[in-house]
């Protein structure tokens, strides 16, 4: 059994203001923490770039990795395009994403974007897996193996 992200189910995030607010505070806390982390890293000369994650996310097991690549290419692809060049949803190529911080991207994946068509994917992946997907997106997402 894979460990799910330890956060409330996404619908609560949008439904109940209190839970949403609590979560928002938590995500802000998390974002700030990671932001500080990367700022600290850049301070000691590692340089800040979209790939300079504080902690490189562990790669999933090969089989799960293939599943996640397929999920992104096929299911995210139904709105963002299989080539991730965009569709009803925006393009997800490195040049489109580099302006956003990796934690913000991860939270968009896990919890969606209220008021838009972006749904939360938290029921289908762990936080670490979302981290890994963000890293791959920023590098140029891998193709599915044929």
């Amino acid at each position: 059994m894979r460990q799910r992200a330890v956060l409330p189910p996404p619908w609560q995030f949008f439904q109940k203001a209190s839970a949403g607010a609590k979560l928002a505070r938590r995500s802000v806390f998390f974002a700030v923490a990671v932001g500080l982390g990367s700022a600290a890293l850049s301070g000691i000369g590692l340089g800040y770039g979209p790939l300079a994650l504080a902690d490189p996310p562990p790669a999933p097991a090969p089989e799960r990795g293939r599943e996640l690549i397929r999920l992104v290419r096929q299911d995210c692809g139904s709105c963002h395009g299989m080539t991730l060049r965009g569709g009803l949803g925006p393009a997800l190529l490195p040049e489109n994403l580099s302006a956003q911080s990796p934690p913000a991207l991860k939270y968009t994946i896990l919890f969606g974007r209220p008021g838009t068509a972006m749904p939360p994917w938290q029921p289908f992946m762990t936080e670490a897996e979302a981290d890994w997907i963000v890293t791959q997106l920023l590098r140029g997402f891998p193709e599915e193996a044929k």
Binding site: S78, G86, G112, A117
Partner: protein, 395 residues
């Protein structure tokens, strides 16, 4: 040497000559039982035969088909394939070749063919707007940017043909509905309706060409336009079908087309709900809502209207359910394969073809007995389109 000569003559007379004759004389056939299946990852379509349940030919080189749709020439010989990358490809079903291909935009997913069969229109996301081409040559004939606000351009969705060589479509970002009259392509006339509802995601024209329905993503309800009225106005139907409840997250947008109409009723996917909504097309009042397995994507009436077949968004996309239109009950739940993306009935509906993307196959069912008739291999198949669409308004 002399011993081999009779053998060569034998070869010529019995093998080579018949082959040459066969090559010179084309095999005559119609195209009414043909269709195409999109192999979304491979940039390829399969030409298929619905009489023999077989693959006739593969046609490559169609670009990015990750979301593709198809319309047919009225002689049912050519398939116009609209690709995600803005490609418009004209495929010759008889020769099994790519006749013409252009890249006309940056990002598109759908199109339509005019009533007279002479114009093909493409709905573009990027740059947002409508482009119209000669069906014969794919030469551009008109360009209608979907401009709104301060120089913004909207993604165009839900395009369909209307009688009078008009195209009707919705502007996803602008909450508008436009009708483009291209009878004079040099001076297209555009009629615009604004404030139709938030974020129209797709639309359909009823089989009589009279009503246009735009599904709304941003709010509950459907925008309805009666194009027969001298001064048409957009009304809202099935408003508040969510009854104020929070909708579920939507992992795939539903699709709308004229197949939603079965007899007097229209069957529509509820956005963010595991329901099919039913309304009476004479007064557009809700008559029923049918609980189904997942969030519906395609809700398609069998051509005789006796059944309505439904597939679902991720993560329920392994199922297909069948609604009996007489009783409003679900009479069958099938599991054709992993990631069912689309289904298409044979022209009179005795069989249905269903694509199972992640099982790399298309499954054919008998629609009376629900027995499996055949399975065809296909690489990540998505849309299935049969040439009978050529003669249906709104397809």
């Amino acid at each position: 040497m002399s011993g081999r000569k009779p053998f060569r003559v034998w070869i010529w007379f019995f093998f080579v000559c018949p082959l040459l004759a066969w090559g010179a004389e084309p095999i005559l056939r119609g195209t009414g039982d043909l269709g195409v299946i999109v192999e979304r990852g491979a940039g390829r379509v399969l030409i298929v035969n619905t009489s023999s349940n077989s693959i006739v030919q593969r046609v490559d080189g169609l670009g990015d088909l990750s979301h593709a749709s198809v319309v047919f020439s009225r002689d049912q010989r050519y398939a116009y394939v609209f690709g995600r990358d803005g490609g418009l490809s004209k495929v010759d079903l008889l020769r099994g070749t790519l006749d013409t291909r252009i890249v006309q935009g940056g990002n598109s997913i759908g199109g339509a063919i005019s009533q007279n069969g002479k114009l093909v229109a493409v709905a573009n996301y990027e740059p947002g707007g409508l482009k119209v081409f000669s069906a014969d040559t794919l030469e551009p004939v008109a360009d209608i940017p979907a401009a709104y606000g301060d120089g913004k351009r909207s993604k165009v969705v839900g395009i369909a043909d209307l009688p009078g060589d008009r195209f009707i479509y919705s502007l996803f970002d602008a909450d508008q509905l436009w009708i483009a009259d291209v009878r004079d392509p040099k001076a297209p006339k555009v009629e615009k309706f604004s404030g139709i509802g938030r974020a129209p995601y797709d639309g359909l024209v009823t089989p009589d060409g009279r009503h246009y329905l735009a599904g709304l993503f941003g709010e509950d309800g459907i925008a309805l336009l009666d194009t027969w009225q001298p001064r048409p106005a957009v009304q809202r139907i099935l408003a508040h079908y969510g009854q104020g409840e929070q909708k579920r997250p939507v992992y795939k947008m539903p699709h709308l087309r004229g197949w939603a109409v079965a007899g007097r009723q229209v069957y529509l996917p509820a956005v963010g709900r595991r329901e099919v909504l039913v309304a009476d097309t004479t007064n557009w009042k809700e008559t029923a809502r049918i609980a189904v397995r997942g969030q519906p994507v395609f809700v398609v009436a069998r051509p005789d209207s006796r059944q309505v077949w439904v597939n679902f968004a991720f993560p329920d996309n392994g199922f297909v359910q069948v609604i009996d239109t007489l009783t409003g009950q679900i009479i069958q739940t099938l599991e054709p394969g992993k990631a069912v993306l689309h289904l298409e009935f044979t022209p009179r509906g005795e069989a249905v073809w269903i694509s199972a993307r992640d099982d790399n196959k298309v499954v054919i069912y008998d629609t009376a007995s629900f027995t499996k008739l055949a399975e065809l291999p296909a690489e990540s198949p998505s849309g299935i389109f049969f040439t009978a669409r050529a003669h249906r308004i709104g397809f």
